[in-house]
Symmetry: C2
Subunit: 328 residues, 2 copies
């Protein structure tokens, strides 16, 4: 039986979506118990709307709430009875096998690093993100946790991303690439050049990648600093709306009839499925001494359920032991 703590006050639609997601997970899977952390009476009221196997959802009171815009370090320090601090604290003590949340990413990163601590040998914990490509989902790492990086950190991002892509995303031999301004190994800043040399120790390192290699899926793991990763992450999320706007302009200009316009829009929406962040079940903090995942604020119940499953997968695959062995 795997026990996963679920932040019932995280995201834009709480407590509904976290509660529904936990209920979906325990109903679908006999080996999972969910521990909902949040203001007990409020969560209980929401939970009463659902059916689930007795004892497979546990409530853990955490009356304080961390807002989406609160300063991460302050929030973690000043709200010890928040769902994030309570949930991660339970995990740190071994009471649960992992923690998932659709809450404030900064607060989750700060709390995960502070409460769980770093894995042996890891310089800095990192956050990875799934990235849509024409060949399926890739992994971009770091996605905004580390804005100033050293070559050794980029190397470790590659090592951790490789293990996650292989064991959790199921890519047998992930192609790990380093985002850079040119393909040749002598291209880039001093940091990127040194990182390239270090990454060559990974047998499946495929070298430098350029901006054009991301959407075309030239790698499975895209290694970069947190500024580049964060800008690309949000840029990617903005593509569907921007393209829809440009296309609507053309539809209007050509005065297409309703039927044809509707067809075009529905095709475009289907083509953009890989860009839908709500489909994906959260992304991991890697390098922390535990299992901690964060989902988009807009996570649906299915996204929360998938995030719980990913946390279980991470715990079962002993990903952290493998990371410690690989960075040693």
């Amino acid at each position: 039986m795997m026990k996963i703590a679920v932040d019932a006050t995280g995201g834009d639609y709480y407590p509904q979506n976290p509660v529904s997601g936990a209920v979906l997970a325990v109903n679908e899977n006999d080996d999972i118990t969910a521990v909902l952390t949040g203001p007990e009476s409020e969560i209980r009221k929401e939970l009463e709307k659902h059916d689930y196997p007795e004892g497979r959802i546990i409530l853990q009171d955490a009356p304080e709430i961390i807002g989406m815009d609160e300063s991460p370090a302050q929030a973690v320090k000043n709200k010890p009875r928040s769902s994030i601090v309570v949930g991660l604290g339970m995990h740190q003590k071994g009471a649960v096998d992992g923690f998932v949340s659709a809450g404030n990413t900064g607060a989750l990163l700060a709390a995960s690093a502070f409460i769980l601590g770093r894995l042996d040998g890891v310089i800095r914990p990192t956050i990875a993100t799934f990235y849509p490509t024409v060949k399926g989902l890739g992994l971009m790492i770091d996605a905004g946790a580390n804005l100033e990086v050293k070559p050794e950190m980029l190397y470790q991002f590659g090592v951790m991303g490789n293990i996650f892509a292989r064991d959790i995303m199921g890519i047998e031999t992930p192609r790990v690439g380093l985002l850079n301004v040119g393909e040749e190994k002598e291209k880039g800043s001093e940091t990127l050049k040194k990182a390239h040399v270090l990454l060559q120790a990974l047998p499946n390192f495929i070298g430098n990648l350029e901006g054009r290699d991301i959407l075309s899926g030239q790698a499975d793991v895209f290694v970069c600093d947190g500024i580049t990763g964060n800008i690309l992450l949000k840029f990617g999320e903005s593509i569907p709306d921007a393209l829809k706007m440009l296309l609507m302009g053309v539809i209007k200009k050509r005065q297409l009839d309703k039927e044809k316009a509707g067809l075009v829009i529905s095709l475009l929406e289907e083509a953009f499925t890989p860009f839908d962040y709500q489909r994906v079940g959260g992304v991991p903090f890697l390098g922390v001494n535990g299992i901690s995942m964060v989902g988009h604020g807009g996570s649906s119940p299915v996204a929360i359920k998938n995030m719980i499953y990913n946390a279980v997968k991470m715990a079962e695959s002993n990903i952290n032991k493998k990371i410690v062995a690989s960075v040693a």
Copy 2:
């Protein structure tokens, strides 16, 4: 009369496209004379295919050719009789008012900085690039010239980009923004935080921008380091092909008939017009003591012509005097 030197051996389609572009420019505009630099007999042969007003196209022999993949610094040093070195040398001596090329960007940057020198007060010359948004073209600066930046450099990129957007792109009061991981001024690396403070001296600085603000056109000038800018530039160029591939997958899956599939593809292609780099007439090196522009290797004759016009516009607007006054 404005005299512009045109690299007749630059780009993927030389001497045809540079020669055609120069011919288009002098035929369309009585105030322009073009000086074609390259192997004289080869250029003369190409030129004989065209009609143009006598004396308005001049040949300047430059028998050495710098390849697209040559090491920039080496190429400039070892090939003093190349079209790039000869053309920029003429400009430095005052024989022409500007130089344009669709050749090796790295070699052009190195040669422009080395032969023309820096403008007074400019820390580092930079390369800007046009960027498509739903509101029209924006300017991204730096696009790959400076991979390691200081806050003062980012500030100067903002100042130079602002002047270029206003005087050459014709945007009355350009909105200048700093690409970052969050909107709040305390977000980002130490370099970005300090750059934010410096940029506040620009009355039209609108603050930090996130990745989602680029395609949506939340600014006219996007200030960033050369790694971020270069990755975003090439990422942007890759969007049309990636989206076409995703859409073709949906068209196939839904078994659309030829007529409907053709309609969708043609709409998409029209929507992607802003992403067509061949339409845009080159981008400037800013901060060098002269007018030097570079176009995409695949530049069409019309793109070369537009690049010549932009060089004329830069020379006529005294952009460099304004930059010197603004960074002083």
